[in-house]
Amino acid sequence: MSDIQLSVQGLWKTFHPGLFEADVEALKGLSFEVGRGEIFGFLGPNGAGKTTTIKAICEIIRPDAGTINVCGHPHTAPAAKRKLGFMSESPYVYRHLSGREYLRFCGELLGLPPAGMEARIAGVLDEVGMASRADRGLGTYSKGMQQRIGLAQALLGDPELLILDEPMSGLDPLGRRDVRDIILARAAAGATVFFSSHIIPDVEALCDRVAIVVDGRLRAIGTVDELLARDPVSFELTFTGAALDGLATPLEASHERSDATWVRVATPHRDALLAELGGRGARLLSLNPVRISLEDLLVEHSAEPTT
């Protein structure tokens, strides 16, 4: 990738929660890069360090070590901040403002030109489907509505890099589809999108690349296809003409249907099983590799003991 929009190098962070509590090592040398125009998914189990990474990128916390570059600038530079749109994990909003007043405030902070401000606010309100509710107090919004305003705020500055921490959580199916559409539209318009999520179908549908982080370390990074294109973990086969009883090969699962017998066998035992069945005179009907899903991969990484 020649054009890196987000670069995180060697990020370390230990929290010191208090006198009588143990330190928490949240990030342990995390590094990755996101190229221009990519939609990048950031995955990992609860407590993996996703939010911590995002907070470090947005300068809400200071990493103990490591460098972060945003759109070619150090992440603390105002130039970087102007190109960044950030939406937090839960929507944190002022209860004393209406949606529109909140966006005006954000527009001022971004230094948007006053002339086009109202039009721009109307634009993002429309984009997140909140135009008709913009003049109600944020305190009266539902969580999903607050989240939409949080997204509107992130889009307001027309950012080159969108950083979204679990943008789909808490949304109804329609809201999730809206957010997906917004991410796709912004990416099509040239923005880079970096988002964390636990919703695998969204990640599979949207992301050019994903990173899996576990316990503060990068476990895997690549396109979804790359990550899943490994040897199949097991095979499913169906056959007739032989009984299951007394097979020496260990099976993962089996089921005797009325027309045929179905079994699943781990890849290392596949050939032994085929030989054994052949010896019993079975007739093979099908043999299919079982590929790992992104969800399996995530579960596999999350479950692995870490040192």
């Binding site: 947005c58 809400i60 916390i61 105002p78 937090s88 944190y92 004393h96 001022e108 902070l109 230094g111």
Partner: protein, 255 residues
């Protein structure tokens, strides 16, 4: 600087949309209006007593507003994490603090002007005389509030709100008494008490410097130099408190 202005304006708006502010303003008004009662109950020049108690009430409630609103609005912004969105925008942390500070100063000023006008109108009603010096005394109280609000912000970023409020109140109380203590103990031969008082006297702003009530109430002349020094003193202490607040806040992780 637009960011600072926006944060100040938002802070001001948050306060004027908060019931608590009206509670304080209401008490202050009630206090100022009821000075008439004190005037009637006490022997002596009624107008002077109204002015004296009125100005003292103004000072006390301005202090409450400065301390409580600073604590409330700074810690609310940090605790409810609305500050995340601000810091992810092209806004420096010191700009956030200065914006908050200026918003709070605006709140205190608005309240001060309002109550002082009420007091001046009351005095006008009793005496038939418009006393512009009341506004001078209020302006000096504002200087005091500049210092207290800065300390409140410092304590708000250093500690939890309740402790921070108590610490700011302590600055108010000590700030009004340390000069007298200092005078008293200065005569003593070198002792631990004397050393302690000396330290407190020099660390905590001497808030009596902003007290021109006697002069205003009794129509005595005011020394311009004293006013000049009060201004410099206020700006210096407020600046130091804000710089210390920034030093702490700058390196702080928000959660």
């Amino acid at each position: 600087m637009r960011a600072i202005r926006a944060i100040a304006a938002n802070t001001f708006r948050e306060a004027i949309r908060d019931r608590i502010l009206y509670l304080f303003v209401g008490f202050a008004l009630a206090m100022v209006v009821s000075t008439k009662l004190f005037g009637m109950l006490t022997v002596g020049d009624e107008a002077k007593i109204v002015k004296d108690i009125g100005l003292a009430s103004i000072q006390f409630f301005s202090m409450l507003i400065a301390v409580m609103m600073s604590m409330l609005l700074v810690s609310r912004e940090v605790d409810s994490r609305t500050v995340f969105i601000i810091l992810a925008k092209p806004v420096r942390r010191w700009q956030f603090l200065v914006g908050k500070y200026l918003g709070l100063v605006a709140i205190v000023t608005a309240n001060l002007v309002f109550i002082t006008v009420v007091l001046a109108v009351m005095v006008l009603a009793y005496t038939g005389q418009w006393d512009p010096m009341l506004f001078f005394a209020a302006a000096m109280t504002l200087l005091e509030m500049l210092v207290l609000a800065a300390f409140a912000i410092l304590f708000a970023v250093l500690t939890r709100p309740i402790l921070g409020s108590l610490m700011t109140l302590a600055v108010f109380v000590v700030g009004h008494t340390s000069a007298e203590l200092w005078l008293l103990t200065r005569q003593l031969p070198g002792s631990l008490t004397r050393g302690l008082v000396a330290v407190v006297y020099h660390l905590i702003p001497n808030l009596e410097r902003f007290n021109f009530r006697t002069e205003v109430v009794h129509g005595l002349p005011v020394a311009p130099a004293a006013v000049g020094w009060a201004v410099i003193y206020a700006v210096a202490f407020a600046a130091v408190a804000l710089v210390l607040a920034d030093l702490r806040f700058r390196s702080r992780d928000l959660r």
